[in-house]
């Protein structure tokens, strides 16, 4: 091979020039390869970097003032107390979990229903319009949802249910459901669309009605993707900050009804971090919450990913 190349190069100047061009193409190819590789791997670098940073900031607290039983078992989050600061995040976990739970209760049936309609029933223009609208809904910034919670839902809830405060689990749950539903709908729809049409045809040829085709063939075949959609919605719920901060009432509380105000883990970090002394116990405790959140969303997303990947095996 090299022998031929050399003899060619030696043969004529024009052939030599041609070979130089090939060389340049080879370098460009290598450079592009490297750039693409670097951007691909950067995601991993960033995520590891963030994890290291968050862990480093919170680590002092974990080694020092951290008391596992108090941190996860106590509802008393009083980091600014002069005499006896306590760092119990149980109430915050309850807040996040109750809001996310309610949001999922609302969002799952809605988004799966919407996905079924878009994927199986809607045709032509209706379908396109719905898809665009769903994507638009997903693009609304969370602070706008917060506005809606504060100025629209709040008075509405007070009036409808005759409660003193309208910023509570119900309000945040509805807002979060509306925020999570579009992305869940869109992923669930992809999962339904991925079910090969010949399965539907086979079932219809056996005399199955539309609903039988969906309930007995399409939904079971798409169950991995649907579960993935739900898990992503849950992840979104845990991670959402601004809208939850504005809608929950932001008061530390172990709730016993959906009309109680609560406070979320994320909202606590967002509202308090700016006012703490860097390196203080309070500051580090907030970072510990960050680690906790990071781990939860990481596990949820990982599960979602693994589950969605399962589609290919069906």
């Amino acid at each position: 091979m090299t022998g031929t190349v050399r003899s060619l190069a030696a043969a004529t100047p024009s052939a030599r020039k041609q070979l130089d061009q090939l060389d340049r193409a080879w370098y460009i190819d290598k450079i592009v390869q490297f750039i693409v590789f670097a951007s691909g791997i950067s995601a991993i670098i960033f995520i590891v970097g963030i994890f290291i940073f968050v862990t480093k900031e919170g680590f002092g607290f974990i080694l020092g003032a951290f008391d596992f039983a108090e941190f996860f078992g106590s509802p008393r989050w009083k980091p600014t107390s002069e005499y006896n600061p306590t760092y119990g995040i149980l109430a915050l976990i309850a807040g996040t979990a109750s809001v996310t739970g309610l949001a999922m209760l609302i969002a799952i049936p809605f988004s799966i229903g919407a996905a079924i309609y878009v994927a199986e029933f809607a045709t032509g223009k209706t379908r396109e319009a719905l898809k665009v609208l769903v994507e638009l809904l997903a693009a609304i910034p969370s602070v706008v949802w917060g506005f809606i919670a504060l100025s629209l839902m709040n008075p509405l809830i007070i009036e409808l249910f005759d409660v003193p405060v309208g910023l509570n689990i119900l309000n945040a749950g509805i807002i979060l459901a509306l925020m999570a539903a579009p992305i869940m709908t869109s992923i669930a729809e992809d999962a339904l669309k991925a079910v090969p049409d010949r399965y539907r045809e086979a079932a219809e040829a056996l005399g199955a009605t539309r609903w039988q085709v969906i309930s007995k063939v399409v939904l079971p075949a798409a169950k991995n993707g649907l579960l993935g959609a739900v898990l992503l919605g849950v992840g979104r719920g845990f991670g959402e900050t601004m809208a939850v901060l504005m809608a929950t009432g932001h008061s530390i509380n172990l709730p016993d009804s959906i009309f109680d105000s609560v406070r979320a883990l994320t909202a606590t970090i967002a509202s308090e971090l700016g006012e703490t002394v860097v390196g203080s116990d309070h500051y580090q405790a907030l970072f510990t919450i960050g680690i906790f959140l990071f781990l939860i969303t990481f596990v949820i997303n990982l599960c979602a990913d693994l589950v969605v990947r399962g589609i290919g095996k069906v």
Partner: protein, 277 residues
């Protein structure tokens, strides 16, 4: 029994005989025209397909044989742009009538597709799928009865011995030949009268083709079978009557032996001899 009753009975049976004589056909179509959008796929197809035998439909690609087949169980209507005109009568029922329930039509007229399409559930559930969607009552059949149904259906398609130990496995894991047999087996529990087969062997190798053909002969007599095929030798081997179609029209409909020996039309002869198609 008095004399009058005897006469009445005799009259009855004569009537019965006559009506069975007029309806020796399972499928009767009258001036069937089918359009896909602006494209007309079938032109005035008028056919009488006999009961309990195997009828094959042959013709070059795009001649409308699949369209015809897919009109018989109305699976064509899955496409929103299909338009159908004319009538199809199956066992004396107009299947395009106003009060016809689509599910019942398709229950009576089973279909096997070109590409085996078992559902992504277990082999057993595939066989029972038809029952599960058509069972009137909510109550479950006893387990041993269900097992019998599964075994019988799989026996009939000569699949029982190969799959009996793995009924719980996913049907999509089977070989193509086994999948196609399963697709035939799952039609049987809901007791169809007609089986439509749209090139059932085109995805199979020679051995699989032979096995499915053998199976068709086994089912012959119990079901009216209409098979679309690209394979002339298959039509010749595996059917009693043969319909030759060209450009959406029926050219010839005769007993298979006759068509392959003395075709009445030049087009048929040319096609059979492989001059086009």
């Amino acid at each position: 029994m008095d004399r009058q009753a005897v006469i009445r009975d005799a009259k009855h049976s004569a009537e019965a005989q006559q009506s069975s004589a007029t309806s020796q056909y399972a499928i009767v179509t009258q001036d069937l025209n089918v359009w896909y959008g602006d494209f007309q796929a079938l032109y005035d197809v008028t056919l009488n397909i006999k009961k309990d035998i195997i009828t094959s439909l042959i013709g070059p690609s795009g001649c409308g044989k699949s369209t015809f087949l897919r009109s018989i169980n109305r699976i064509n209507e899955r496409l929103s742009y299909v338009r159908i005109d004319g009538s199809i009568t199956v066992y004396d029922h107009n299947i395009y009538g106003d009060h016809v329930e689509l599910a019942q039509v398709r229950k009576q007229i089973g279909m096997v597709f070109q590409r085996p399409n078992p559902l992504p559930i277990s082999i057993r559930d595939n066989v029972l799928f038809g029952l599960s969607i058509h069972s009137e009552s909510r109550k479950k059949l006893p387990r041993n009865e269900v097992d019998d149904i599964v075994e019988q259906a799989l026996q009939q398609v000569l699949l029982w011995h190969t799959v009996k130990d793995r009924l719980g496995r996913k049907a999509t894991e089977l070989s193509l030949e086994e999948q196609q047999k399963l697709c035939i087996a799952r039609l049987l529990p809901i007791k169809p009268t007609i089986l439509l087969m749209d090139e059932p062997c085109s995805a199979l190798d020679a051995k699989g083709t032979e096995a499915v053909e053998e199976l068709l002969w086994g089912l012959r007599g119990r079901y009216t079978i209409v098979i679309v095929t690209h394979n002339m030798a298959q039509a010749r081997r595996a059917s009693d009557e043969c319909i030759f179609m060209l450009m959406g029209k029926v050219i010839e409909h005769t007993p298979t032996a006759e068509m392959f020996v003395t075709p009445a039309h030049k087009e048929t002869a040319d096609y059979i001899e492989g001059r086009y198609g």
